[in-house]
C-alpha cells in the first residue's frame, strides 16, 4: 500500500462539541405523581426549581403547589422516619419506633422555628421572594435532606453491624447528616441565587440559623443512638447540657480506643445469682 494515500474521515462523525452550537436549555416541567417529583428534586435541583417556577406561573398553580407541598412533607416524614428507624436499630426494641418519630420531628420543628428568620433575611436583603416562596424552598431543601438520609441509611446500618462502638456510630450519623446537609444546601443556594446577587449571603445566614436550631432540637429530643446494653431508653431526656459540648465529648471518646472496650463494672449479685441452699430451692 502506498504511503501517500490520503484518508478522509467519513462525514458521519458529528462535529466536535466546541464547534457545535450550544443546545437550548431544556425546559423541565413538574411531572405528575409524587414519586416522579421527588426523583426530580433529588436528581436535578435546577430542573426542579425551573419546574417550580413554571408551575407557579401556570393556571391552577395553587392546586399544584398544594399537592407538591404534601409530597414534600411526606418525603420528610417517611424519609427521615426510615433513617431514624435505622439509627434506633443500634439499640433495638422500642428505640426503633422512638427514633422513627423523633427524626422527622427534628426537621419539622426546626423548619417551623426557622421560617420567621428565613422570611426576615429574604425581606432584609430585598430578595423578590414572598413568604410562601421562602417556606417552599426551605421545605424542598428539607425533603432533599431526608431523601439523602434514606440513601445513606445503609451506611449507618453497616457501621452498626461492624460493632465499631457507640461513639463511632454517633460520628457516622453526624457525618451522614453533614452529607445530607450539603445536598440540601445545593438546592437552597441554587434557589436563592436565582433571586438576586444577595442570595448567597442570605443562604449562608439560612444555613447558620438552621444548623443551630436543628442541633438544639436534636439535643432536646435525644437519645437517638443508645448503647445496646442500656436497660431502658426514655423517649426524651431532661434538659441539660448542649449539643456542642456533647459532640466534643463524643469526638474525644471516639479517638480513645479504650472507651468502648473497658471491662464492665461488676454488678451486684441478684437473687438469681446467689447460691441456693436449703429445701426452699426445690
Amino acid at each position: 500500500m502506498s504511503a501517500d494515500v490520503a484518508f478522509e474521515l467519513p462525514a458521519v462523525f458529528p462535529p466536535r462539541a466546541a464547534d457545535a452550537a450550544p443546545p437550548p436549555p431544556a425546559v423541565v416541567t413538574l411531572p405528575p405523581g409524587a414519586v416522579a417529583r421527588l426523583e426530580l428534586l433529588l436528581r436535578d435541583p435546577d430542573g426542579f426549581l425551573g419546574a417550580l417556577d413554571l408551575a407557579a406561573a401556570s393556571p391552577g398553580a395553587d392546586a399544584t403547589i398544594a399537592s407538591l407541598t404534601r409530597a414534600l412533607v411526606g418525603a420528610v416524614v417517611v424519609g427521615a422516619g426510615l433513617f431514624g428507624s435505622i439509627v434506633g436499630a443500634h439499640r433495638g426494641g422500642l428505640q426503633v419506633l422512638y427514633c422513627s418519630v423523633k427524626v422527622p420531628l427534628i426537621l419539622l420543628v426546626t423548619l417551623v422555628v426557622c421560617a420567621a428568620p428565613f422570611v426576615a433575611f429574604a425581606r432584609a436583603a430585598r430578595l423578590p421572594l414572598g413568604a410562601r416562596d421562602v417556606v417552599a424552598l426551605a421545605l424542598a431543601s428539607c425533603a432533599r435532606f431526608a431523601l439523602v438520609l434514606v440513601g445513606l441509611a445503609p451506611f449507618v446500618w453497616l457501621m452498626e453491624g461492624w460493632s465499631l462502638g457507640y461513639h463511632r456510630v454517633i460520628l457516622a450519623v453526624v457525618g451522614v447528616c453533614l452529607v445530607a446537609g450539603v445536598g440540601a444546601g445545593r438546592l437552597l443556594f441554587a434557589g436563592l441565587a436565582r433571586s438576586g446577587p444577595g442570595g448567597t449571603r442570605v443562604g449562608l445566614a439560612f444555613v447558620a440559623v438552621f444548623a443551630l436550631v436543628g442541633a438544639q432540637t436534636s439535643w432536646i429530643l435525644r437519645p437517638f443512638v443508645v448503647r445496646p446494653r442500656t436497660a431502658q431508653a426514655p423517649f426524651v431526656r431532661s434538659l441539660e447540657g448542649d449539643f456542642l459540648g456533647a459532640l466534643g465529648t463524643t469526638a474525644r471518646s471516639a479517638m480513645d480506643p479504650r472507651i468502648d472496650h473497658l471491662p464492665a463494672a461488676p454488678r451486684s449479685p441478684s437473687a438469681l445469682d446467689r447460691r441456693c441452699a436449703g429445701p426452699a430451692c426445690d
Partner: protein, 179 residues
Amino acid sequence: MSDTVIPTAELHPPIEVPVPRSLALGLAGAVAFGAAAGLGHGAAAIVRGAWMSPALFVGGALLATPPLYLASSWSGSRATAEELVASVADTLGRTGVILLGLAAPAAYFSATLRTPTAWALLLGAAVTVGAAAVRAVSARALSDGPAAAWAWSAFAVALGVRLLAALAHHLPIAHAVTR
C-alpha cells in the same frame, strides 16, 4: 423628622422606605428580639431584654451617626446630613426585620438551652447582626473613601463593644448560667 424616602441601592426590585417606618421597624425588631431572649428566664428578664436590645442597636446607631457624618464629609462625599440619616435609618430598619425574624429562635433557645453556650450564642447573634449593619452602612455611606470607611467601621465596632460591656451586667441570661 421629615418623611424622606430613599431609593435603596442595589435592590431588586427597588423599594422606597420612609425614614419613620424604618426607625419604627428597627425599634420593634430590637424590642422583640430582646424580650424573646429573656423569655425562658421570667418576666423581669423579658423586661430587661426588651430595653437592653434597643439600647444596644438603636443606641449604637444614634451614637455612631455623628462620626459617620464627619467621616463622610472628610472623605469628600457630597451626601447631606439628611441623606446620611436616611441611610442609617434604612439599615436600622433592615436590621430590625432581621431581629424580628430571629426572635423566634431566640425564644426557642431561651426556653430550652441552659448552659454557658446560650450566653455565647446570644452574644454571637448580636455581634453578627451588628457587624453586618456596620458593614452595610459603611458600604453605602462611605463608598468614596475606603480609609474613612475602615476608620468609621472600627470606631462603630469599638462603640458596640463598649455598649455591650456596659449592658453585660444586666443580661438576664448571665445570671441564669451562673446560678
